[in-house]
Amino acid sequence: MSDLSIFLDEVWIARFALLKGLGVTVSISLLSILVGSALGVLVGLCLTYGHPVVRLIVRAYTDFVRGTPVLVLVLASYYILSTVGIDLGPFQAGVLALSVFCSSHVGEIVRGALQAVPHGQTEAAKAIGLTFGQTFTSVLWPQALRQVLPTWVNTAAEMVKASTLLSVIGVAELLLRTQEIISRNFLSLQFYFLAGFLYFVINYGIERLGKYVERKTAVPS
Protein backbone atom coordinates (compact mmCIF):
# COMPACT_ATOMS: atom_id res chain seq x y z
CA MET A 1 0.00 0.00 0.00
CA SER A 2 1.30 3.45 -0.85
CA ASP A 3 1.67 6.11 1.84
CA LEU A 4 -1.27 8.05 0.42
CA SER A 5 -3.62 5.08 0.43
CA ILE A 6 -2.55 4.21 4.01
CA PHE A 7 -3.38 7.79 5.00
CA LEU A 8 -6.71 7.80 3.18
CA ASP A 9 -7.55 4.46 4.75
CA GLU A 10 -6.83 5.89 8.23
CA VAL A 11 -8.90 9.00 7.44
CA TRP A 12 -11.81 6.74 6.51
CA ILE A 13 -11.44 4.75 9.76
CA ALA A 14 -11.30 8.01 11.74
CA ARG A 15 -14.03 9.81 9.79
CA PHE A 16 -16.57 9.89 12.63
CA ALA A 17 -13.99 10.99 15.20
CA LEU A 18 -12.84 13.78 12.89
CA LEU A 19 -16.40 14.87 12.15
CA LYS A 20 -17.26 14.90 15.85
CA GLY A 21 -14.15 16.97 16.60
CA LEU A 22 -14.97 19.35 13.77
CA GLY A 23 -18.54 19.64 15.06
CA VAL A 24 -17.33 20.50 18.57
CA THR A 25 -14.82 23.06 17.25
CA VAL A 26 -17.45 24.70 15.04
CA SER A 27 -20.13 24.79 17.74
CA ILE A 28 -17.77 26.10 20.45
CA SER A 29 -16.41 28.75 18.09
CA LEU A 30 -19.85 29.79 16.84
CA LEU A 31 -21.33 29.97 20.33
CA SER A 32 -18.45 31.97 21.78
CA ILE A 33 -18.31 34.32 18.78
CA LEU A 34 -22.09 34.94 19.00
CA VAL A 35 -22.24 35.37 22.78
CA GLY A 36 -18.91 37.21 22.86
CA SER A 37 -19.93 39.59 20.08
CA ALA A 38 -23.30 40.39 21.65
CA LEU A 39 -21.59 41.00 24.98
CA GLY A 40 -18.84 42.92 23.21
CA VAL A 41 -21.31 45.36 21.63
CA LEU A 42 -22.66 46.02 25.14
CA VAL A 43 -19.13 46.51 26.46
CA GLY A 44 -18.35 48.89 23.60
CA LEU A 45 -21.53 50.89 24.27
CA CYS A 46 -20.72 51.14 27.98
CA LEU A 47 -17.16 52.24 27.21
CA THR A 48 -18.37 54.95 24.83
CA TYR A 49 -21.61 56.26 26.33
CA GLY A 50 -21.72 54.76 29.83
CA HIS A 51 -21.95 56.66 33.11
CA PRO A 52 -18.36 57.34 34.37
CA VAL A 53 -18.75 54.69 37.11
CA VAL A 54 -20.04 52.09 34.63
CA ARG A 55 -17.25 53.07 32.25
CA LEU A 56 -14.65 52.55 34.98
CA ILE A 57 -15.99 49.08 35.88
CA VAL A 58 -16.26 47.96 32.24
CA ARG A 59 -12.80 49.39 31.51
CA ALA A 60 -11.37 47.34 34.40
CA TYR A 61 -13.14 44.21 33.09
CA THR A 62 -11.86 44.77 29.54
CA ASP A 63 -8.27 45.44 30.58
CA PHE A 64 -8.21 42.51 32.99
CA VAL A 65 -9.56 40.04 30.43
CA ARG A 66 -7.41 41.36 27.59
CA GLY A 67 -4.32 41.11 29.78
CA THR A 68 -4.99 37.51 30.78
CA PRO A 69 -3.83 34.54 28.66
CA VAL A 70 -6.81 32.63 27.23
CA LEU A 71 -5.52 29.44 28.86
CA VAL A 72 -5.81 31.05 32.31
CA LEU A 73 -9.41 32.07 31.51
CA VAL A 74 -10.13 28.50 30.44
CA LEU A 75 -8.63 27.01 33.62
CA ALA A 76 -10.38 29.61 35.78
CA SER A 77 -13.80 28.88 34.22
CA TYR A 78 -13.32 25.17 34.77
CA TYR A 79 -11.65 25.02 38.19
CA ILE A 80 -12.12 28.25 40.11
CA LEU A 81 -15.88 28.45 39.47
CA SER A 82 -16.31 24.90 40.76
CA THR A 83 -14.77 25.88 44.11
CA VAL A 84 -17.59 28.39 44.58
CA GLY A 85 -20.23 25.82 43.71
CA ILE A 86 -20.69 26.55 39.98
CA ASP A 87 -19.74 23.22 38.46
CA LEU A 88 -19.58 23.77 34.71
CA GLY A 89 -18.79 20.91 32.35
CA PRO A 90 -15.73 21.23 30.08
CA PHE A 91 -17.81 22.38 27.08
CA GLN A 92 -19.73 25.02 29.06
CA ALA A 93 -16.59 26.27 30.82
CA GLY A 94 -14.86 26.51 27.45
CA VAL A 95 -17.67 28.50 25.86
CA LEU A 96 -17.74 30.82 28.88
CA ALA A 97 -13.98 31.46 28.79
CA LEU A 98 -13.89 32.11 25.05
CA SER A 99 -17.02 34.31 25.15
CA VAL A 100 -15.53 36.46 27.90
CA PHE A 101 -12.28 36.74 25.96
CA CYS A 102 -14.16 37.57 22.75
CA SER A 103 -16.33 40.19 24.48
CA SER A 104 -13.33 42.19 25.68
CA HIS A 105 -11.82 42.29 22.20
CA VAL A 106 -15.08 43.07 20.41
CA GLY A 107 -15.81 45.71 23.08
CA GLU A 108 -12.64 47.61 22.20
CA ILE A 109 -13.32 47.26 18.48
CA VAL A 110 -16.85 48.63 18.91
CA ARG A 111 -15.63 51.48 21.13
CA GLY A 112 -13.02 52.48 18.55
CA ALA A 113 -15.54 52.33 15.71
CA LEU A 114 -18.17 54.37 17.57
CA GLN A 115 -15.65 57.02 18.54
CA ALA A 116 -14.50 57.25 14.93
CA VAL A 117 -17.94 58.44 13.82
CA PRO A 118 -17.69 62.26 13.69
CA HIS A 119 -19.43 64.00 16.58
CA GLY A 120 -21.29 66.20 14.09
CA GLN A 121 -23.40 63.17 13.11
CA THR A 122 -24.84 62.93 16.64
CA GLU A 123 -25.47 66.65 16.70
CA ALA A 124 -27.20 66.54 13.32
CA ALA A 125 -29.38 63.65 14.52
CA LYS A 126 -30.29 65.63 17.62
CA ALA A 127 -31.13 68.64 15.44
CA ILE A 128 -33.71 66.67 13.45
CA GLY A 129 -35.25 65.40 16.70
CA LEU A 130 -34.01 61.76 16.91
CA THR A 131 -33.84 60.08 20.30
CA PHE A 132 -30.54 58.50 21.39
CA GLY A 133 -31.91 55.03 20.52
CA GLN A 134 -32.87 56.18 17.03
CA THR A 135 -29.55 58.00 16.60
CA PHE A 136 -27.67 54.87 17.57
CA THR A 137 -29.56 52.38 15.40
CA SER A 138 -30.04 54.60 12.33
CA VAL A 139 -26.99 56.87 12.34
CA LEU A 140 -24.10 55.64 14.47
CA TRP A 141 -24.27 51.82 14.32
CA PRO A 142 -24.54 51.50 10.50
CA GLN A 143 -21.40 53.63 10.16
CA ALA A 144 -19.57 51.92 13.00
CA LEU A 145 -20.43 48.46 11.69
CA ARG A 146 -18.42 49.09 8.51
CA GLN A 147 -15.38 49.86 10.67
CA VAL A 148 -16.01 46.90 12.97
CA LEU A 149 -16.32 44.14 10.35
CA PRO A 150 -12.70 43.65 9.18
CA THR A 151 -11.27 43.49 12.72
CA TRP A 152 -14.23 41.42 13.92
CA VAL A 153 -13.30 38.77 11.32
CA ASN A 154 -9.82 38.66 12.87
CA THR A 155 -11.23 38.23 16.37
CA ALA A 156 -13.59 35.48 15.20
CA ALA A 157 -10.67 33.63 13.60
CA GLU A 158 -8.76 34.02 16.87
CA MET A 159 -11.64 32.33 18.72
CA VAL A 160 -11.45 29.32 16.39
CA LYS A 161 -7.74 29.04 17.05
CA ALA A 162 -8.16 29.56 20.81
CA SER A 163 -10.65 26.67 20.90
CA THR A 164 -7.66 24.33 20.56
CA LEU A 165 -6.66 25.26 24.14
CA LEU A 166 -9.82 23.61 25.47
CA SER A 167 -8.22 20.18 25.12
CA VAL A 168 -6.49 20.99 28.44
CA ILE A 169 -9.82 20.66 30.25
CA GLY A 170 -10.81 17.63 28.16
CA VAL A 171 -13.03 19.11 25.45
CA ALA A 172 -12.78 16.70 22.52
CA GLU A 173 -12.39 19.38 19.86
CA LEU A 174 -10.70 18.90 16.49
CA LEU A 175 -7.08 19.13 17.68
CA LEU A 176 -7.54 16.66 20.56
CA ARG A 177 -9.42 14.29 18.21
CA THR A 178 -6.52 14.60 15.75
CA GLN A 179 -4.00 13.85 18.49
CA GLU A 180 -6.04 10.81 19.53
CA ILE A 181 -5.97 9.53 15.96
CA ILE A 182 -2.23 10.20 15.66
CA SER A 183 -1.53 8.37 18.93
CA ARG A 184 -3.05 5.28 17.31
CA ASN A 185 -1.45 5.38 13.84
CA PHE A 186 1.48 7.84 14.30
CA LEU A 187 0.78 9.56 10.96
CA SER A 188 1.65 12.89 12.60
CA LEU A 189 2.39 15.13 9.65
CA GLN A 190 -0.47 13.88 7.52
CA PHE A 191 -3.13 14.29 10.24
CA TYR A 192 -1.80 17.63 11.51
CA PHE A 193 -1.91 18.83 7.90
CA LEU A 194 -5.50 17.65 7.60
CA ALA A 195 -6.42 19.41 10.86
CA GLY A 196 -4.69 22.57 9.62
CA PHE A 197 -6.67 22.39 6.41
CA LEU A 198 -9.96 21.98 8.32
CA TYR A 199 -9.14 25.00 10.53
CA PHE A 200 -8.40 26.96 7.35
CA VAL A 201 -11.80 25.95 5.92
CA ILE A 202 -13.60 27.18 9.06
CA ASN A 203 -11.69 30.48 9.10
CA TYR A 204 -12.13 30.94 5.37
CA GLY A 205 -15.88 30.53 5.89
CA ILE A 206 -15.82 33.23 8.57
CA GLU A 207 -13.84 35.51 6.26
CA ARG A 208 -16.31 35.00 3.40
CA LEU A 209 -19.21 35.71 5.77
CA GLY A 210 -17.48 38.92 6.88
CA LYS A 211 -16.90 39.96 3.26
CA TYR A 212 -20.57 39.23 2.45
CA VAL A 213 -21.80 41.43 5.31
CA GLU A 214 -19.29 44.11 4.29
CA ARG A 215 -20.73 44.10 0.77
CA LYS A 216 -24.28 44.23 2.11
CA THR A 217 -23.51 47.17 4.37
CA ALA A 218 -21.28 49.10 1.96
CA VAL A 219 -22.24 52.63 1.05
CA PRO A 220 -23.61 52.49 -2.50
CA SER A 221 -21.22 54.32 -4.80
Binding site: V72, A76, S82, G170, L176, Q179, E180, S183, R184, S188
Partner: protein
Protein backbone atom coordinates in the same frame (compact mmCIF):
# COMPACT_ATOMS: atom_id res chain seq x y z
CA UNK B 1 1.26 29.16 23.62
CA UNK B 2 4.75 28.33 24.78
CA UNK B 3 5.17 25.62 27.39
CA UNK B 4 6.70 28.12 29.83
CA UNK B 5 3.67 30.38 29.59
CA UNK B 6 1.36 27.39 29.78
CA UNK B 7 3.15 26.02 32.84
CA UNK B 8 3.02 29.49 34.41
CA UNK B 9 -0.68 29.78 33.68
CA UNK B 10 -1.36 26.41 35.25
CA UNK B 11 0.77 27.26 38.28
CA UNK B 12 -1.15 30.53 38.68
CA UNK B 13 -4.51 28.81 38.37
CA UNK B 14 -3.43 26.13 40.86
CA UNK B 15 -2.26 28.77 43.33
CA UNK B 16 -5.57 30.63 43.13
CA UNK B 17 -7.37 27.34 43.43
CA UNK B 18 -5.48 26.24 46.53
CA UNK B 19 -5.85 29.61 48.22
CA UNK B 20 -9.57 29.58 47.47
CA UNK B 21 -10.10 26.21 49.07
CA UNK B 22 -8.69 26.06 52.59
CA UNK B 23 -8.51 22.50 53.80
CA UNK B 24 -9.33 21.40 50.28
CA UNK B 25 -8.76 17.77 51.11
CA UNK B 26 -11.60 17.58 53.57
CA UNK B 27 -14.76 15.81 52.60
CA UNK B 28 -17.97 17.69 53.30
CA UNK B 29 -19.92 14.62 54.29
CA UNK B 30 -19.31 10.91 54.02
CA UNK B 31 -16.75 9.08 51.99
CA UNK B 32 -16.36 9.22 48.21
CA UNK B 33 -16.99 5.49 48.36
CA UNK B 34 -20.57 6.05 49.58
CA UNK B 35 -21.14 8.81 47.03
CA UNK B 36 -20.02 6.56 44.19
CA UNK B 37 -22.21 3.70 45.37
CA UNK B 38 -25.19 6.06 45.59
CA UNK B 39 -24.41 7.55 42.17
CA UNK B 40 -24.25 4.14 40.54
CA UNK B 41 -21.09 4.62 38.54
CA UNK B 42 -17.43 5.47 39.02
CA UNK B 43 -15.82 8.60 37.49
CA UNK B 44 -12.21 8.02 36.44
CA UNK B 45 -9.91 10.71 35.08
CA UNK B 46 -7.58 9.54 32.32
CA UNK B 47 -6.15 10.62 28.98
CA UNK B 48 -6.79 9.53 25.41
CA UNK B 49 -3.54 10.00 23.51
CA UNK B 50 -0.91 7.69 25.03
CA UNK B 51 -0.86 4.04 24.01
CA UNK B 52 -0.63 1.50 25.54
CA UNK B 53 -1.91 3.35 28.62
CA UNK B 54 -4.99 5.29 27.50
CA UNK B 55 -5.90 5.82 23.86
CA UNK B 56 -8.71 5.40 21.36
CA UNK B 57 -8.89 2.44 19.01
CA UNK B 58 -10.20 2.45 15.45
CA UNK B 59 -13.69 2.05 16.97
CA UNK B 60 -13.18 5.40 18.79
CA UNK B 61 -13.44 3.61 22.16
CA UNK B 62 -11.03 4.23 25.03
CA UNK B 63 -8.67 1.39 25.82
CA UNK B 64 -5.31 0.69 27.46
CA UNK B 65 -3.82 -0.43 30.76
CA UNK B 66 -5.00 2.64 32.72
CA UNK B 67 -8.50 2.18 31.30
CA UNK B 68 -8.46 -1.46 32.44
CA UNK B 69 -7.55 -0.34 35.98
CA UNK B 70 -10.75 1.76 35.94
CA UNK B 71 -12.74 -1.30 34.88
CA UNK B 72 -11.17 -3.38 37.67
CA UNK B 73 -12.20 -0.81 40.31
CA UNK B 74 -15.72 -0.54 38.81
CA UNK B 75 -16.03 -4.33 38.95
CA UNK B 76 -15.07 -4.26 42.64
CA UNK B 77 -17.67 -1.52 43.28
CA UNK B 78 -20.65 -2.76 41.29
CA UNK B 79 -19.67 -6.24 40.10
CA UNK B 80 -19.87 -4.64 36.66
CA UNK B 81 -16.65 -3.44 34.98
CA UNK B 82 -18.60 -1.13 32.67
CA UNK B 83 -20.19 1.07 35.34
CA UNK B 84 -17.49 3.64 34.82
CA UNK B 85 -17.35 7.06 33.17
CA UNK B 86 -13.97 8.26 31.90
CA UNK B 87 -13.28 11.98 32.07
CA UNK B 88 -10.80 12.99 29.40
CA UNK B 89 -8.06 15.08 30.96
CA UNK B 90 -4.61 16.32 29.97
CA UNK B 91 -1.61 15.35 32.13
CA UNK B 92 -1.65 18.88 33.59
CA UNK B 93 -5.21 18.31 34.83
CA UNK B 94 -4.51 15.12 36.81
CA UNK B 95 -4.07 16.81 40.20
CA UNK B 96 -6.55 19.74 39.82
CA UNK B 97 -9.33 17.38 38.71
CA UNK B 98 -8.86 15.34 41.90
CA UNK B 99 -8.57 18.28 44.30
CA UNK B 100 -11.70 19.95 42.87
CA UNK B 101 -13.69 16.70 42.87
CA UNK B 102 -14.22 16.58 39.10
CA UNK B 103 -13.21 12.91 39.23
CA UNK B 104 -13.31 10.20 41.91
CA UNK B 105 -9.90 8.85 40.96
CA UNK B 106 -7.19 9.42 38.38
CA UNK B 107 -5.49 6.49 36.67
CA UNK B 108 -3.20 8.06 34.07
CA UNK B 109 0.39 6.71 34.18
CA UNK B 110 0.99 8.99 37.13
CA UNK B 111 4.51 8.75 38.55
CA UNK B 112 4.59 8.62 42.33
CA UNK B 113 6.66 11.46 43.81
CA UNK B 114 6.90 12.97 47.27
CA UNK B 115 5.81 16.39 46.04
CA UNK B 116 2.69 14.97 44.40
CA UNK B 117 1.92 12.85 47.46
CA UNK B 118 1.51 16.10 49.40
CA UNK B 119 -1.30 17.13 47.06
CA UNK B 120 -3.09 13.84 46.40
CA UNK B 121 -3.18 10.40 48.00
CA UNK B 122 -1.56 7.67 45.93
CA UNK B 123 -2.95 4.15 45.80
CA UNK B 124 -0.67 1.13 45.80
CA UNK B 125 1.38 1.01 42.57
CA UNK B 126 0.06 -1.00 39.64
CA UNK B 127 3.11 -0.78 37.36
CA UNK B 128 6.88 -0.18 37.43
CA UNK B 129 8.20 1.98 34.62
CA UNK B 130 11.68 2.80 33.33
CA UNK B 131 13.10 4.95 30.55
CA UNK B 132 14.61 3.36 27.45
CA UNK B 133 16.22 4.51 24.20
CA UNK B 134 14.86 3.65 20.77
CA UNK B 135 16.68 4.16 17.45
CA UNK B 136 15.92 3.55 13.79
CA UNK B 137 16.95 0.08 12.62
CA UNK B 138 20.13 0.13 10.55
CA UNK B 139 21.15 3.59 11.79
CA UNK B 140 24.69 4.80 12.54
CA UNK B 141 24.59 3.67 16.18
CA UNK B 142 24.21 -0.01 16.96
CA UNK B 143 23.44 0.09 20.67
CA UNK B 144 23.69 2.07 23.90
CA UNK B 145 27.49 1.74 24.05
CA UNK B 146 27.79 3.31 20.57
CA UNK B 147 25.46 6.17 21.56
CA UNK B 148 27.47 6.85 24.70
CA UNK B 149 30.79 6.70 22.82
CA UNK B 150 29.54 9.29 20.31
CA UNK B 151 29.27 11.82 23.17
CA UNK B 152 28.06 15.27 22.10
CA UNK B 153 27.41 14.11 18.53
CA UNK B 154 24.12 12.44 19.35
CA UNK B 155 20.79 14.22 19.72
CA UNK B 156 18.11 12.69 21.91
CA UNK B 157 14.42 13.55 21.48
CA UNK B 158 12.43 13.55 24.70
CA UNK B 159 9.03 14.69 25.99
CA UNK B 160 8.99 18.17 27.53
CA UNK B 161 9.47 17.99 31.26
CA UNK B 162 11.28 19.95 33.94
CA UNK B 163 13.53 16.94 34.54
CA UNK B 164 13.89 15.86 30.89
CA UNK B 165 17.42 17.18 30.36
CA UNK B 166 18.78 15.79 33.64
CA UNK B 167 17.01 12.49 32.98
CA UNK B 168 18.69 12.02 29.58
CA UNK B 169 22.07 13.18 30.91
CA UNK B 170 21.94 10.55 33.65
CA UNK B 171 22.38 7.98 30.88
CA UNK B 172 24.16 10.00 28.18
CA UNK B 173 25.98 12.88 29.93
CA UNK B 174 27.15 14.69 26.80
CA UNK B 175 24.19 14.17 24.44
CA UNK B 176 22.25 17.11 23.01
CA UNK B 177 18.65 17.04 24.28
CA UNK B 178 15.72 18.25 22.16
CA UNK B 179 12.38 18.46 23.96
CA UNK B 180 9.02 18.03 22.21
CA UNK B 181 5.42 18.59 23.19
CA UNK B 182 3.98 15.15 22.47
CA UNK B 183 4.90 11.52 21.99
CA UNK B 184 4.22 11.51 18.24
CA UNK B 185 6.57 14.48 17.79
CA UNK B 186 9.54 12.71 19.38
CA UNK B 187 8.97 9.79 17.00
CA UNK B 188 8.68 12.29 14.16
CA UNK B 189 12.02 13.82 15.19
CA UNK B 190 13.61 10.37 15.04
CA UNK B 191 12.06 9.57 11.65
CA UNK B 192 13.09 12.87 10.09
CA UNK B 193 16.68 12.51 11.32
CA UNK B 194 16.49 15.46 13.74
CA UNK B 195 17.26 13.04 16.56
CA UNK B 196 19.45 9.92 16.72
CA UNK B 197 17.33 8.29 19.41
CA UNK B 198 14.25 8.91 21.51
CA UNK B 199 14.26 8.57 25.28
CA UNK B 200 10.85 7.64 26.61
CA UNK B 201 9.00 5.14 28.77
CA UNK B 202 9.98 1.55 28.08
CA UNK B 203 6.31 0.59 27.88
CA UNK B 204 5.74 3.17 25.10
CA UNK B 205 8.82 1.99 23.20
CA UNK B 206 7.73 -1.64 23.46
CA UNK B 207 4.25 -0.73 22.18
CA UNK B 208 5.56 1.41 19.30
CA UNK B 209 8.05 -1.27 18.19
CA UNK B 210 5.30 -3.90 18.20
CA UNK B 211 3.16 -1.64 15.99
CA UNK B 212 6.05 -0.99 13.57
CA UNK B 213 7.82 -4.34 13.31
CA UNK B 214 11.41 -4.26 12.06
CA UNK B 215 11.72 -0.49 11.70
CA UNK B 216 13.20 0.35 15.08
CA UNK B 217 15.57 -1.09 17.68
CA UNK B 218 15.77 -0.77 21.43
CA UNK B 219 19.24 0.49 22.46
CA UNK B 220 19.16 -2.06 25.26
CA UNK B 221 19.52 0.17 28.29
CA UNK B 222 16.94 1.11 30.88
CA UNK B 223 17.14 3.58 33.75
CA UNK B 224 15.13 6.04 35.82
CA UNK B 225 12.87 3.60 37.70
CA UNK B 226 9.49 4.97 38.74
CA UNK B 227 6.19 3.60 39.97
CA UNK B 228 2.78 4.31 38.54
CA UNK B 229 -0.23 4.53 40.86
CA UNK B 230 -3.77 5.87 40.72
CA UNK B 231 -4.47 8.92 42.87
CA UNK B 232 -7.45 10.04 44.97
CA UNK B 233 -8.28 13.08 47.10
CA UNK B 234 -6.36 13.38 50.34
CA UNK B 235 -8.13 12.76 53.62
CA UNK B 236 -10.55 10.03 52.52
CA UNK B 237 -9.05 6.86 53.96
CA UNK B 238 -12.20 4.84 53.33
CA UNK B 239 -12.11 5.38 49.59
CA UNK B 240 -8.32 4.93 49.42
CA UNK B 241 -8.57 1.62 51.30
CA UNK B 242 -11.24 0.40 48.93
CA UNK B 243 -9.21 1.18 45.80
CA UNK B 244 -6.10 -0.36 47.35
CA UNK B 245 -8.06 -3.52 48.09
CA UNK B 246 -9.39 -3.67 44.53
CA UNK B 247 -5.95 -3.17 42.96
CA UNK B 248 -4.24 -5.52 45.42
CA UNK B 249 -6.69 -8.33 44.72
CA UNK B 250 -6.27 -7.74 40.98
CA UNK B 251 -2.52 -8.19 41.25
CA UNK B 252 -2.44 -11.03 43.78
CA UNK B 253 -5.94 -12.39 44.36
CA UNK B 254 -9.36 -13.16 42.90
CA UNK B 255 -9.13 -10.72 39.98
CA UNK B 256 -5.62 -11.79 38.96
CA UNK B 257 -6.74 -13.24 35.64
CA UNK B 258 -8.22 -9.88 34.58
CA UNK B 259 -5.04 -7.99 35.52
CA UNK B 260 -2.79 -10.61 33.87
CA UNK B 261 -4.88 -10.56 30.68
CA UNK B 262 -4.62 -6.77 30.49
CA UNK B 263 -0.86 -6.95 31.18
CA UNK B 264 -0.43 -9.44 28.34
CA UNK B 265 -2.53 -7.33 25.95
CA UNK B 266 -0.68 -4.05 26.52
CA UNK B 267 2.85 -5.16 27.46
CA UNK B 268 3.02 -8.52 25.70
CA UNK B 269 4.20 -10.42 28.78
CA UNK B 270 2.71 -13.35 30.67
CA UNK B 271 2.71 -12.81 34.43
CA UNK B 272 3.43 -15.83 36.65
CA UNK B 273 0.32 -16.57 38.73
CA UNK B 274 0.63 -15.67 42.43
CA UNK B 275 1.55 -18.68 44.56
CA UNK B 276 -1.03 -20.20 46.84
CA UNK B 277 -0.32 -20.47 50.54
CA UNK B 278 1.78 -17.98 52.43
CA UNK B 279 0.71 -14.36 51.55
CA UNK B 280 2.86 -12.70 48.92
CA UNK B 281 3.64 -9.61 51.06
CA UNK B 282 5.52 -11.46 53.74
CA UNK B 283 8.03 -13.29 51.58
Amino acid sequence: MSMTLRAGAIALASAILLSATPGFAQQQSGSTLDKILARGHLIVGSGSTNPPWHFKGADDKLQGFDIDMGHIIAKALFDDPNKVEYVNQSSDARIPNITTGKVDITCQFMTVTGARAQQVAFTIPYYREGVGLMMKAGGPYADFAALKAAGAKVTIAVLQNVYAEAMVHAALPEAKVDQYDSQDLIYQALNSGRADAVATDQSSIAWFMTQNQGRYVDAGYGWNPQTYACAVKRGDQDWLNFVNTALHEAMTGVEFDTYAKSFKTWFGKDLPPPQIGFPIEFK
